[in-house]
Amino acid sequence: MTTHITGTREEWLAARLELLAAEKQLTRRSDELARRRQELPWVRVDKEYRFETDEGGASLADLFRGRSQLLVYHYMFGPDYTAGCATCSTIADGFDGFVVHLANHDVTLSAVSRAPLAKLQAYKRRMGWRFPWASSLGNDFNFDFNVSFTEEEQRKGGIEYNYERGGHAMDETQIPEPVAQNAAMTGTDVATYTRERPGMSAFVLEDGVVYHTYSTYARGLDGLWGMYQWLDRAPMGRNETGVWWLRHDEYGER
């Protein structure tokens, strides 16, 4: 038998209505934040970035693919990883299904990573994904948008991620278990793994000029991670003490 409180439909309803009021407030708060986010000023991007894509060399403007808005998922896949980050993979499983809808609403969603294009292409084939994925290998893009860091920054504790210095679990000197697990799943050591970080950046293209409008990192990605929003509605919630997920083609092996 369950130890959870059970009740009649009427008792449940009374509690549910109370929660509903709080949920509606949260939805309105989310709408309000979306409005404020749109009001953030923009920064003109003057640097010329050169990416490698399935279609050949591309500029940042080319990544828009004819649309006026670009979302870049900063996918953790460093040049020395043997596979893409497994955690990013669970996020990508979600957006792969709806990039086509965004594409028909004037938004191109593209992943960008530092690994060479051939590695990205092979991994994308393995995962069966369709979203565009560009390599920023050799350019400053990932460093400028605070998702890749140099060994020197790492050594000196100078990593500024999620708008603060040294504030993230990946910066701790005592390596947390989930970080070590994630590193192992990409076939690399912790230091190499944590020189890449996850994030999402938004850009707009207007009269041939690209503007950076927004970037979010760390738990700012939580709402973009489909599986968590569903788990938040399950009786046991996220129910986790560490990394429990694998890549979608690896579950059978456990």
Binding site: T2, P41, Q69, A202, L224, W230, H248
Partner: protein, 249 residues
């Protein structure tokens, strides 16, 4: 949601932007914590024992509500709008399905089974699922009470008056409306209803909207006849690679 005027937007230096961004970050963090808090509150809701024996239909077999758990203890049901006499399901629900299709496998590894339920016959569900390339389980509630008991389907008789949807009396001419319901099965096989959510409560479960909330134009639906007027089945957009805003209108 109001649309940003892309042509006259304020452009600033990186340091000014950072200042505005950091201020906004504080509000975003507050929001994340508020969301976490509601998730905790949600888990504290009492549960209601399900006494009725619902039987659903798959193309080749019948399945009980208990069997839908597939050996796991938690079941999340997406109430997918597809009335028996319709040719295809709701376009918006199909948009939701595109966003959850590939993550169901991850939920399975947190003791959660995900299933879609509609009133349309299972053959129709199966054919549409094949067409869309989906792999989640989708069963038919046919003529059973399930959809009516969980307030997502309404009889012609009920539609003459106000119906109960999203915990309020509402006027609608839709026989089916969207929602999500959650169930728990204990070790003795007892099933409990734990949670149901409807209307804009399922917004957050269509992750695509959380992505649109990050771009300069936002959801960009204000000028449309209804909010999701731009949504098509994913194989029915005019251009596979997508339209620009100008082409779309």
């Amino acid at each position: 949601m109001t649309k940003t005027d892309l042509n006259n937007h304020k452009v600033v230096s990186l340091s000014e932007w950072l200042e505005a961004r950091k201020q906004f970050l504080t509000q975003e963090k507050e929001f994340t914590r508020l969301r976490d808090q509601l998730s905790r509150q949600r888990r504290e809701l009492p549960w209601v024992k399900v006494e009725k024996n619902y039987v659903f239909k798959e193309p080749d077999r019948k399945t009980t509500l208990a069997e839908l758990f597939e050996g796991r203890s938690q079941l999340v049901v997406y109430h997918f709008m597809f009335a028996p006499d319709e040719e295809g399901p709701c376009r918006s629900c199909s948009f939701w399905a595109d966003s959850f299709n590939a993550i169901a496998i991850h939920l399975n590894h947190r003791d959660v089974t995900m299933v879609a339920i509609s009133r349309a016959p299972s053959e129709k569900l199966e054919a549409f699922k094949r067409r869309m390339g989906w792999n989640f389980k989708w069963v038919s509630s046919g003529n059973n009470d399930f959809n009516y008991d969980y307030h997502v389907s309404f009889t012609p008789e009920a539609l003459k008056d106000q119906v109960e949807y999203n915990y309020a009396k509402q006027q609608t001419d839709s026989t089916d409306l969207p929602g999500v319901s959650v169930f728990y099965k204990d070790g003795n096989g007892n099933i409990y209803h734990t949670y149901s959510v409807y209307a804009r409560g399922i917004d957050i479960l269509n992750t695509a909207y959380n992505y649109l909330d990050l771009v300069p134009n936002g959801r960009d639906e204000d000028e449309l006849e209804f909010s999701m007027a731009w949504v098509r089945y994913h194989d029915q957009y005019e251009s596979k690679s997508g339209n620009t805003r100008r082409e779309a209108r």
